[in-house]
């Protein structure tokens, strides 16, 4: 992936590097947060307000982001970053997000059994019965352990409680 800003006229191609993106993201995030911090009073040195610390830290965040972007020449090109684990990561996040959304709605036992079964059977292509046995067995044992031994109850199934 390459960017070709004004340097193209001189025949040079500017390679977009890892730290251009990393630094740029932190500068942009810092600027956006600075903009939404308008209602937080900075105060004075003698009487610092609620906004002093966040604004100082945002300044530092953008400054270090700028240093990173300026020194990006030392980092590898963005195109060379290995993304071979991206599909795995996105799938795990998506399945976990569904389980979390259902966690307090259908309870621990059902949501976590589903989470484990989907990960084991559909994502990891394990055999049906072992995947099912592990999903149900581990979930039920964990539920009982937390509810009885550790006395720290997990969300129950709505029709169970």
């Amino acid at each position: 992936m390459t960017a070709r800003p004004n340097d193209e006229r001189s025949g040079r191609r500017v390679v977009l590097r890892r730290d251009h993106i990393a630094g740029g993201v932190f500068i942009a995030a810092g600027a956006i947060l600075f903009a939404v911090s308008g209602d937080l009073p900075f105060g004075t040195l003698a009487s610092p307000g609620a906004g002093m610390m966040p604004k100082l830290v945002l300044g530092l965040l953008m400054a270090f982001g700028a240093i990173l972007a300026l020194r990006a020449g030392e980092s590898p090109p963005l195109a060379e970053l290995p993304w071979n684990d991206l599909t795995h990561a996105v799938t795990v996040v998506a399945v976990s997000a569904v389980a979390i959304a259902l966690y307090t709605v259908i309870g621990f036992v059902l949501s976590v059994t589903l989470l484990l079964f989907v990960l084991l059977y559909f994502i990891e292509r394990r055999k049906l019965w072992p995947a099912l046995a592990v999903s149900i067995g581990v979930t039920v044992v964990s539920y009982l352990m937390f509810s009885t031994l550790l006395r720290s109850p997990l969300p129950p199934m709505p029709f169970w409680s």
Binding site: G51, V57, L68, S75, V93, I100
Partner: protein, 513 residues
């Protein structure tokens, strides 16, 4: 000295209570497993199990959680030696010669030397902790807000200096953590900061969702199951005893690694990782046969393993005596003490002697337990490594969800964990170390409070930090470290941090290959 012995006896009277012994044992077992299993380090292990301690008193809770920490240093060596996979980052250096010894049929001897070295180092560390922490705590009673501000600045700068990534990257991560720590109600004025109308964010972002997300889920997202191997060399009990020559060769590296590790452990940073690298480099430099390193040198196992255990004990000195976390693990342990209503710091020794001395005494006992666990039972522990990673990581995700939810019974915390998991994955992709982020998050409230108190008490005169001798000295050390870091940027040659980063990356790649 007499009072120290009396206090230690009080500690042993606490540590030998059956309940405390049981939780020390549980911590050691879980720590050994956490250290062995790739994809779950001590930080994630402690964070996930933190809610389990809510029903316990402060002593049992901290004894168990600390057992997980120093137990993981023991367990980490097992996968390094038998599989060339550093189950825990501090065991990276052990992979090199430990695995080479295993390939020569000396896996048992390597495990035994690692366990004995860890025991000696751990015990020395506890003795030193016993002697150093109380007077240091007494000295810290002279600290006011300016001194604490300067101390926390020094902690962040030291972390940046010791980090294997660049100064700008580390400080950027620390700033990110400080920013996350600003979320929630400002305790001095009552203003809501960055809560975005989510009431649960009023209390701020908890350390557990962030730590579990970054280090537990983030690691899983970066590790597809097909990249993990489960080929295990399992030594038999009879093969565990090293030869006389191997004992001789390991004696001095253990002694040097112990002292070096403890000293490095006291300073902020990922000390247990750095100490093992420094010990390996030291042993290689002073060895009469440096060519043997990488091919199964006993000193290459004995030194780093002792150093990382001594460092993990050394890290408790500033935590207990000053209330200053030196890394993310001690930060979570501090959070655990706070949750149990026991603030770590100078007053810990005087106000909670049973917790302080009981904790220290339990570490003597814990080190003995770990020696017993890691030698005769190594064959049993190794079986855990036979669980395919494709079964293991869904279970770790489940425990991440349980662990985070149980802290506040809040599903928002679980969402925060998921978001931080994605952030952790991206940070790894872009070569950021998430540890300073956690440290920044933990110290943010204390840092902000002490900074604002300092400015208020000086009526806005910021030179207050230079007018008081202790804070001026701490600021001067911070400035010196920043200059040293800047110098290393100018120099062309690789310094020790760059070498450590390269060694970590190369071992991680080889372990997964």
């Amino acid at each position: 000295m007499e009072s120290t012995i009396d206090s230690l006896l009080l500690g042993f009277s606490v540590a030998f209570q059956p309940g405390v012994l049981l939780y020390a044992f549980l911590g050691c077992v879980v720590g050994t497993l956490v250290g062995m299993l790739p994809g779950i380090g001590p930080l994630a292990g402690i964070s996930i199990l933190l809610p389990v301690t809510f029903g316990l008193d402060a002593t049992r809770a901290i004894v168990m959680l600390a057992g997980i920490y120093y137990g993981s240093q023991y367990g980490g060596s097992t996968t390094s030696i038998l599989m060339r996979i550093p189950g825990e980052a501090a065991s990276v250096m052990t992979c090199i010669d430990g695995y080479a010894m295993a390939q020569k049929g000396r896996a048992g001897a390597a495990l035994c030397i690692a366990a004995v070295g860890s025991f000696i180092a751990g015990t020395f560390g506890v003795v030193a902790l016993t002697v150093i922490a109380p007077p240091l705590g007494a000295f810290a009673l002279r600290f006011g807000p300016p001194e604490y501000t300067a101390l926390l600045i020094l902690g962040l700068v030291f972390l940046a200096y010791m980090s294997t990534t660049s100064l700008a990257r580390t400080l950027l991560m620390a700033a990110f953590g400080l920013l996350l720590g600003c979320i929630g109600i400002d305790v001095m004025t009552g203003h809501f900061r960055y809560a975005f109308d989510i009431p649960e964010l009023g209390d701020g972002i908890g350390i557990v969702p962030v730590a579990v997300g970054l280090f537990g889920l983030g690691e899983i997202l970066s590790t597809p199951s097909h990249t993990m191997t489960t080929k295990v060399i399992a030594p038999r009990f009879a093969e565990l005893m090293p030869t006389r020559k191997e004992w001789r060769e390991s004696a001095m590296p253990i002694a040097r690694g112990t002292v070096l590790g403890f000293l490095v452990g006291i300073v902020p940073g990922s000390a247990h990782i750095i100490s093992s690298f420094m010990s390996y480099a030291l042993e290689k430099r002073i060895s009469r046969h440096p060519q043997e390193f990488g091919k199964g040198a006993v000193a290459g196992v004995a030194g780093p393993e002792s150093a990382n255990n001594a460092a993990s004990t050394g890290a408790f000195v500033p935590m207990l005596a000053l209330g200053l976390p030196t890394g993310p693990v001690t930060a979570v342990l501090m959070a655990a003490l706070l949750i149990h209503g026991v603030p770590p710091g100078p007053q810990l020794v005087t106000e909670h002697p049973q917790v302080f001395w009981g904790f220290i005494a339990s570490m003597y006992v814990g080190n003995l337990m770990l020696l017993a666990l890691n030698l005769p039972l190594v064959g049993m522990f190794v079986n855990v490594l036979r669980i395919p990673y494709s079964y293991l990581y869904p279970l770790i995700i489940m425990f991440c969800i349980i662990g985070v939810y149980e802290v506040n019974h809040s599903v928002i915390d679980v969402w925060i964990m998921l978001v931080m998991g994605v952030v952790g994955y991206l940070l790894r992709k872009f070569d950021f170390d998430p540890a300073p982020l956690v440290l920044g998050l933990v110290i943010a409230p204390t840092f902000e409070m002490s900074l604002r108190q300092s400015l208020i008490m000086s009526n806005g005169v910021w030179t207050i930090f230079f007018e008081r001798p202790i804070s001026a000295s701490l600021i001067a050390v911070s400035a010196l470290l920043l200059i040293l870091s800047a110098l290393s940027l100018v120099r062309k040659s690789k310094d020790w941090r760059a070498k450590l980063a390269a060694a970590e990356a190369s071992e991680a790649d080889q372990g997964r290959a």
